[in-house]
C-alpha cells in the first residue's frame, strides 16, 4: 500500500483518538444503539435528524459522528431480533431465524455473544476490504449493468429454500405474496397505479417498516397474549439463562471459515450500488445453510444461523462506503444521507475525495470501525440485563413493546394508517406463525422485487435493442454459476446423505 495512504490512515487515527474528537464516535454510537434498539427507528432517521444540527460543524466531527451512526446501528436491531423476535430493520430479520429459538432455549447470552463477535469482526473485514479496494472501485462499479443486477436478485431469491425452513412450497408462496405486495403503488416504467384498490394510502406502495413491525413485533405480541406464555423465554428456561457469552464468542472462531466467507460476501454485496443492505444477511444465511455439511439444525437455534447473517450485515457497511466514496453512488438510504452530508460540507466523492481529502476519508472509516467494536463490546457488557428482559412477565412487556412498535410505525411517515397496516400484518403474521408458514421469504421478496422487476425490464429491453449480450458479460456468468450452485448443492447433498445412509 502506498505510503501516502498509510500516512493518511495514521493521521486520521491520531485525530480520532485525540480530545475532544474522541467524544463524537462514542456519543454517535450510543445514539445509534438507542435508535436501532427501537423497532421502526433506524440510523437513517437519526442521520436525517442530525443533518441540520451539524450543518455548521467542521468536517472532522461530522465524519466522526456520521461514521459512528452507520457503524453503531446494525447490532442492536439484531439484539431485539434475538431476544424478542422483533427485528430492528429488514437486515436484522434473518438473525431471528436461529437467534430467537436460542433465546427460547435459554441460550440468549450465547446468541448475543456470537452476534456481537461476528458483528465486530465482520465490520473489521469490511473495513479492510474497503481500504484495499477503494482505488479499484471505479472500474468495477462501471462494469455493473442491469443484467448483473438481475442475476443478483435471482441469486438472492435462490436462498429462499434456506429461509423456508421445512416447507419450501410455503416459502415460495410467501415469496410470491411478498412480490404481490411490492407491486402495489406506481409502476416505475409507466407511472400507472397498480393494485391500490382506490386507496390513496397505497399509492406510494407499502412501506417496509409497518410490514416488518406487523409480521414480527405485533405478531409476536399476539402470540404471547394468545398462548398465555409467562415470559419470552420458554417457561422451563425462565429461571436459568443457560449459555454463556464466551460460548458464543468461541463459536465464531470455531466456525471461522463460515464467518470469513459471510463477511466477504457481505462486503461484496454492500459494495454493489442500489442493492441495499438487507439482501446481504439473507444471502449469507442461505449460503451458510446450503453449504453446511449438516443443516438440520438451521432454524432451530443453530449458532451458525446467527454468525453468518450478522457477519454479513456488519461487513456490508464497509462495502457500502466503497461506491459512496469512490463514485458518489449510494448503496442504500444510510449512505445516500451520508452522501448528502458530504456534499453539504463541500466534499465531492470521487477522485478529489480520495486524493485531497484522504485523511477525512480515513476519519470516517476509523469511526465506522471503532463504533462497530464499541457497539459489540457494550452489547456484550449489557447482555445479562438485556437477556433478563426475556424472563420479565410477558403481560408487563406487551404494552411497552406494542407502543414502541406503534411509535416506530407512525414515526416513519407520520401516518396513523401505517399503524393500522402494521396491526393487520400483525394478525396475518400471527396466523402464519401458528401454522408454521415462513415469514422471512415474504420480507425478502418484498425487498428484492423492485430490483428484480426493474432489472428484468431493462435487461430485456436492452437485449431487444441489441445493446446487451448476456453471455459475454463475465460477472453475469459468475452469478449464474453461483445461482446454479445454490439450487443444486442442497439437492446433491441430500441425495448423497440418503445414499450413504442406504449403504450403511
Amino acid at each position: 500500500m502506498d505510503s501516502s495512504v498509510m500516512d493518511a490512515a495514521w493521521e486520521a487515527l491520531r485525530l480520532v483518538l485525540s480530545w475532544p474528537y474522541v467524544v463524537y464516535p462514542i456519543a454517535g454510537t450510543l445514539l445509534a444503539m438507542a435508535f436501532s434498539a427501537t423497532p421502526g427507528l433506524n440510523s437513517a432517521s437519526l442521520m436525517a435528524l442530525a443533518i441540520p444540527v451539524t450543518f455548521v460543524w467542521d468536517p472532522i466531527p461530522v465524519m466522526l459522528l456520521f461514521g459512528s451512526f452507520v457503524g453503531g446501528a446494525t447490532f442492536m436491531g439484531s439484539v431485539t431480533a434475538i431476544l424478542f423476535n422483533i427485528p430492528g430493520k429488514a437486515s436484522n430479520a434473518v438473525v431471528l431465524l436461529d437467534g430467537y429459538p436460542m433465546t427460547v432455549q435459554g441460550r440468549a447470552r450465547e446468541a448475543i455473544g456470537a452476534a456481537a463477535t461476528s458483528s465486530a469482526l465482520g465490520a473489521t473485514v469490511g473495513v479492510v476490504i474497503l481500504v484495499v479496494m477503494l482505488p479499484f472501485m471505479r472500474s468495477a462499479a462501471l462494469a455493473l449493468g442491469p443484467a448483473e443486477y438481475l442475476m443478483i436478485a435471482i441469486w438472492g431469491l435462490t436462498t429462499l429454500a434456506a429461509l423456508s425452513g421445512d416447507s419450501l412450497l410455503r416459502g415460495l408462496v410467501a415469496a410470491g405474496l411478498g412480490f404481490q405486495l411490492a407491486f402495489i403503488g406506481y409502476d416505475p416504467r409507466t407511472a400507472e397505479l397498480r393494485f391500490t384498490f382506490g386507496l390513496d394510502y397505497l399509492s406510494d406502495g407499502l412501506s417496509l417498516v409497518p410490514v416488518l413491525l406487523g409480521l414480527f413485533a405485533i405478531a409476536e405480541v399476539i402470540d404471547l397474549m394468545a398462548s398465555g406464555r409467562e415470559t419470552l423465554a420458554a417457561r422451563q428456561a425462565s429461571n436459568q439463562l443457560r449459555g454463556r457469552v464466551g460460548h458464543g464468542v468461541r463459536a465464531v472462531f470455531r466456525h471461522f471459515p463460515l464467518f470469513l466467507r459471510s463477511s466477504v460476501l457481505g462486503t461484496v454485496i454492500g459494495a454493489i450500488p442500489g442493492i441495499g443492505g438487507s439482501v446481504a444477511g439473507f444471502i449469507a444465511y442461505g449460503q451458510a445453510s446450503q453449504t453446511a455439511a449438516d443443516s438440520s439444525e438451521f432454524g432451530r437455534g443453530d449458532v451458525r444461523g446467527v454468525i453468518a447473517p450478522e457477519a454479513a450485515n456488519d461487513a456490508k457497511d464497509g462495502g457500502a462506503l466503497i461506491p459512496t466514496l469512490a463514485l458518489g453512488i449510494p448503496g442504500g438510504t444510510g449512505t445516500a444521507l451520508l452522501l448528502g452530508v458530504l456534499t453539504l460540507h463541500g466534499l465531492t466523492p470521487g477522485r478529489e475525495m480520495l486524493t485531497d481529502h484522504l485523511v477525512l476519508v480515513f476519519v470516517l472509516i476509523w469511526s465506522l470501525f471503532l463504533s462497530n467494536w464499541l457497539t459489540s463490546l457494550l452489547g456484550i457488557a449489557l447482555v445479562s440485563p438485556m437477556a433478563r428482559l426475556t424472563t420479565v412477565r410477558a403481560s408487563r412487556l406487551v404494552p411497552v413493546i406494542l407502543i414502541l412498535a406503534a411509535v416506530g410505525a407512525i414515526q416513519y411517515r407520520g401516518l396513523l394508517a401505517d399503524l393500522v397496516c402494521a396491526v393487520l400484518f400483525g394478525i396475518v403474521g400471527y396466523m402464519m406463525k401458528r401454522v408454521a408458514w415462513p415469514r422471512i421469504p415474504l420480507v425478502m421478496a418484498l425487498v428484492l422485487a423492485p430490483l428484480f422487476e426493474n432489472s428484468l425490464h431493462l435487461t430485456l429491453r436492452l437485449h431487444e435493442l441489441g445493446r446487451i449480450d448476456f453471455w459475454s458479460r463475465p460477472l453475469v456468468i459468475v452469478l449464474l454459476v453461483l445461482t446454479g450452485t445454490s439450487l443444486v448443492l442442497p439437492v446433491f447433498r441430500a441425495r448423497l446423505a440418503a445414499w450413504r445412509k442406504r449403504r450403511a
Binding site: 397498480r194 404494552p399 406503534a406
Partner: protein
C-alpha cells in the same frame, strides 16, 4: 388437525387475495401487468398445490396428523379459545383507536394504563407508574429528538 384447518384457512385466504390481485391486473397496461401476472399465476398454482397436498395428507391420515413438512415445525400450538382470541384481538385493535382518539403521547399512556390494569391485572400503582413513565419518555423524545410534532389525535381538534 388444528394446524391443518388453520393452514387451509390461510391457504384459502391467500388464494382469494392473489385471485383479486390477478383480476385487478387486467385493468393495467401490458408493460405494467406482465411481471405481476406471471408472479400471481405462479403463486396461485403453488397455493393450489399446497391446498391439494394438505387435503391428500388429511385423507391418508384420517385428518389425525399434521401434513408433511410441518411435522418438524414443533408441537401443535395450543387451541386458542374463540373468546380469548377475540379479546386478544380487541386489545390489539384498541391501540390504534386510543392513539387516534387521544394522540400518540396521551394515547400511549392511556393504553398502557388500561392494558396493565385490566388485561395484565397489575396494581393501580404499578400501572400508573409505567403509563406515566412511558408517556414521559415519549414526550422527551418528541420534544428533544424528533423534529416533527407527535400525532395529536381527535381530541386536539
Amino acid at each position: 388437525m388444528r394446524r391443518l384447518r388453520s393452514g387451509s384457512a390461510l391457504t384459502f385466504g391467500f388464494s382469494l387475495l392473489s385471485a383479486w390481485f390477478l383480476w385487478e391486473s387486467f385493468a393495467l397496461s401490458r408493460v405494467a401487468s406482465t411481471v405481476p401476472r406471471l408472479v400471481l399465476v405462479l403463486t396461485l398454482v403453488l397455493l393450489a398445490a399446497d391446498g391439494l397436498r394438505s387435503w391428500f395428507h388429511a385423507r391418508e391420515r384420517g385428518g389425525e396428523a399434521v401434513p408433511d413438512g410441518d411435522e418438524a415445525a414443533g408441537p401443535v400450538p395450543p387451541k386458542v379459545d374463540a373468546g380469548a382470541g377475540a379479546r386478544c384481538l380487541a386489545w390489539i385493535a384498541l391501540l390504534p383507536a386510543a392513539l387516534w382518539l387521544f394522540g400518540l403521547l396521551a394515547g400511549s399512556a392511556v393504553y398502557c394504563l388500561l392494558f396493565l390494569r385490566w388485561r395484565s391485572r397489575e396494581s393501580w400503582v404499578f400501572s400508573l407508574a409505567v403509563a406515566l413513565g412511558l408517556g414521559g419518555v415519549l414526550t422527551l423524545l418528541y420534544s428533544v429528538v424528533f423534529p416533527a410534532a407527535p400525532y395529536a389525535g381527535l381530541w386536539a381538534l
